[in-house]
């Protein structure tokens, strides 16, 4: 019976599945309405000191503003959205030695209940992050020696050593001002209700300093909806936007003339590959890691991602400051891979376990990696894991040694990609950020120097040398940087995928 139903479904091919509604064509933004979108994961936490995953960040960023933030993204401009602009601060000054950051708060800013925001509220929030053992953000404040408030509306950070990424670090939501025991918002929206694991609704915050730019009444985020279901809901008009479509839906919609204008692509700040624990055999031998880099055919993965990805040579995504675009990715060379494996003492290949996220796209890509590695005698067993299990397992030094590696930008600076992932100071037995457990004193020295280097060209040169070291030492199989895609209903206006925040609908409006 099931088979008959499916065949009948397939026969419905000819049905018109174009957009149901058109844009009304208003010249100026219209206020009001609820924008509905969904994610395949759940919102883990709304505490800005705790929330670290992508889905939680959609909600946290809508509720909490910071001293500085990125400019909004502009559709069609691949460089937009990375400039840092003042938000809760009106202006700031950095001392010539790079050690003092002085912020003047914007006059009249208030929490969602009308209480004025003062500099002490920032200090409270940052002290709270540093005191919370389960906050993943304390690491970003290691260079801060002191935070002072000379007057009520001025905030001064004194750094122990220069950190060129410090301004970018202050864009992260954990730096938002807070009051003890309250859930006051400082962002464009306030929380209306949250049925955990099901849906989260936020409504417009009239006290927001930039409330004039916020047109939507509400944002509704529906949790735990698989990608293919998201797309079906989107087609039925139950969602206003659907992200990262499954391969089948993406292939279908990009061939439709009527949908084409509403599909967005954007190179986002991410890196994907296969991360190896370099302290565990056989990955403690660099030749094995290089062999795997030669063995995987990245063209296969890019094709399975419908071409919406570029092959990587390292962790830094295209367009990121400090990336050496002249470095060529490892070519697909099975003969060389076999030779390196034989040299490393594995002439008969290897048997390995490969941990991936239990997601349809990840599983398809893993099949491709498996088939490429089999060609050089490396037999892998794919173990799918939920996001939570995966995150715990690969952050553990004795955990699975070989897994899918994912790096999504927390902020737009190489510090986020290099220091967090490959500096030896980020190695811990559990919850290790450096999850390849790669330790190299020379790289540590270069990264420390680059972090403090005020000259932009010098700094870029240092990161390029870091890229070369990691390229040769290969703690990951460097695979690809994936574009982010999203389709919106024709009446969704003023929306562009943001390179860091990804789905920021705060400045969108409904043209109907």
């Amino acid at each position: 019976m099931k088979a008959v139903v499916l065949i009948a479904l397939a026969a419905c091919n000819g049905m018109d599945r174009g957009p149901h509604e058109r844009a009304a064509g208003h010249a100026k933004p219209v206020d009001g309405g609820t924008l509905r979108y969904a994610t395949k994961d759940r919102v883990v936490s709304l505490d800005p000191a705790i929330a670290y995953d992508e889905t939680s960040s959609y909600a946290v960023h809508a509720l909490h503003d910071t001293l500085v933030d990125y400019a909004p993204a502009v559709r069609g401009d691949p460089h937009s959205g990375t400039d840092i602009v003042p938000h809760l601060a009106e202006r700031y000054e950095v001392s010539p030695d790079g050690l003092t950051y002085h912020f003047w708060l914007r006059p009249g800013i208030a929490f969602s209940d009308g209480t004025p925001i003062v500099a002490a509220d920032f200090v409270y929030a940052l002290d709270r992050v540093r005191a919370k053992p389960d906050s993943p953000y304390a690491q970003f404040l290691v260079d801060v020696a002191a935070i002072t408030t000379p007057v009520q509306n001025e905030l001064v950070f004194q750094l122990a050593r220069p950190n060129m990424a410090f301004l970018a670090i202050l864009t992260m939501s954990f730096t938002t001002p807070l009051r003890p025991n309250t859930e006051l918002a400082t962002g464009p929206f306030v929380l209306e209700r949250w049925d955990q694991g099901r849906r989260l609704i936020v409504k417009k915050n009239p006290r927001y300093w930039d409330a004039a730019s916020i047109h939507l009444d509400r944002l509704e985020l529906i949790e735990n909806v698989p990608r293919d279901v998201q797309f079906l809901m989107f087609e039925r008009g139950e969602l206003d936007a659907a992200e990262r479509l499954s391969a089948a839906d993406y292939l279908w919609i990009t061939e439709r003339q009527d949908w084409a204008p509403y599909v967005q692509h954007r190179t986002a700040m991410n890196a994907f590959g296969s991360r190896m624990n370099v302290t565990q055999p056989p990955f403690d031998d660099r030749r094995v890691r290089q062999a795997l880099n030669y063995a995987v055919d990245k063209d296969h993965e890019v094709k399975l991602l419908e071409g919406a990805a570029v092959i990587s040579h390292g962790i830094l995504p295209p367009g990121m400051f400090g990336r050496d675009d002249a470095l060529t990715p490892y070519p697909h060379d099975p003969a060389k891979a076999r030779a390196l494996l034989a040299e490393a003492g594995h002439p008969n290949g290897l048997d390995l376990e490969y941990v991936v996220l239990a997601d349809e796209e990840a599983m398809r890509l893993a099949e491709s990696v498996k088939s490429d590695l089999a060609e050089v005698g490396v037999r892998i067993r794919i173990t799918p894991m939920s996001f939570a299990a995966y995150a715990t397992a690969i952050g553990s030094k004795s955990g699975p040694a070989f897994s899918k590696g994912v790096q999504l930008a927390d902020f737009a600076d190489p510090v986020d990609f290099f220091d967090l992932r490959f500096a030896s100071s980020e190695i811990h037995d559990q919850s290790s950020n450096n999850d390849s457990f790669y330790a190299n004193p020379e790289l540590d020295r270069i990264l420390a120097a680059a972090r403090a280097e005020p000259d932009r060209n010098e700094r870029a040169a240092l990161y390029q040398s870091a890229e070369r070291i990691l390229y040769a030492d290969a703690p990951w199989i460097w695979e690809y940087h994936q574009d982010v895609t999203e389709v919106t209903q024709p009446y969704v206006a003023g929306y562009a995928i943001h390179p860091i925040w990804l789905r920021d609908f705060s400045r969108s409006w409904l043209d109907r």
């Binding site: 088979a3 499916l6 397939a10 089948a248 094709k303």
Partner: protein
């Protein structure tokens, strides 16, 4: 027996079903000859369009390719073997449990019968799919996921109840017959009576139950695989599951396994009906 065979082959549906099953078995048997391609070999370079879409049916791939460039025909053929193997083993398991429980309950009667039938009620009270999903998930945890054992055990464990009920009824009737009373009076042991006299009288019923159960198991396997609870190897249900998202762009990914399941289930149902009519003409409709 000859009369039953005659009745069976006079039934047009049963003959069609038998022919279809023979074709199916021939396909499974001649697997290596029918498709030179491996069902699991990825062909991302040539088995997908430039944009990464599956290829439609062609001379190269008679049923097209799937989302990893694998040959759909090769997978249908490989899936036939796995799907039939699972259905066959699950039916055998259900038959063994169902026959044992039914015979013991029907022959012994009394509290044994009561206890066993309440167990059957308990299993039947659970919605079939819910129980199957629960069992399949639990068995998967036991790290057998790559083999077909969890699915076989799941299907066997949920489908024996009908067999047990029917067999119990028949066994009860047979054990009250004069022939059994006579055997008892002559001092035959219960084991001997069951083996020599009760069981042969139930053979026809058991065969009919098995044929219909087989079709049911084939379908249930497809449902479990579709829900992602099947074996990791290629089965028709799994192919349907993998291809479902492509029903618009590459409909052959659902049509091929869908038709395969449909044909196989109809074939076994036709044979089952034919057998029932042949063995028990009074019950035919």
């Amino acid at each position: 027996m000859a009369r039953e065979a005659q009745r069976f082959f006079a039934n047009r549906g049963a003959v069609v079903g038998t022919v279809l099953i023979c074709i199916l078995l021939a396909i499974v048997g001649a697997r290596p000859l029918l498709s030179a391609k491996s069902p699991d070999a990825l062909n991302i370079d040539h088995g997908l369009t430039l944009r990464g879409a599956p290829l439609p049916p062609s001379a190269e791939s008679p049923l097209g390719t799937d989302d990893l460039g694998r040959d759909v025909w090769a997978r249908i053929v490989a899936g036939a073997a796995t799907s039939l193997e699972i259905a066959c083993l699950a039916t055998l398991l259900a038959l063994v449990i169902g026959l044992t429980v039914g015979l013991v309950a029907g022959y012994a009667g009394g509290w044994v019968d009561h206890a066993l039938m309440r167990l059957v009620d308990l299993v039947l009270a659970f919605p079939f799919l819910l129980l199957a999903i629960l069992l399949a998930s639990l068995l998967r945890e036991a790290d057998l996921a790559s083999s077909i054992a969890p699915v076989v055990v799941t299907l066997g464990a949920v489908s024996w109840t009908t067999i047990a009920r029917v067999i119990r009824g028949k066994a009860m009737a047979v054990s009250r017959s004069e022939m059994i009373v006579a055997a008892r009076a002559l001092g035959a042991s219960p084991a001997r009576i069951i083996a020599r006299h009760v069981l042969p009288n139930l053979a026809g019923t058991a065969i009919v139950m098995a044929a219909i159960g087989f079709a049911q198991n084939l379908l249930s396997e497809a449902v479990l695989s579709y829900l992602g609870l099947g074996p990791a190897t290629t089965t028709w249900g799994h192919m349907l599951f993998e291809g479902r998202a492509y029903y618009r762009t590459a409909p052959w990914l659902v049509i091929a396994p869908g038709v395969a399941i449909l044909v196989a289930v109809i074939a076994f149902n036709l044979v089952g009906d034919g057998l029932r009519d042949a063995f028990d003409p009074k019950e035919s409709t």
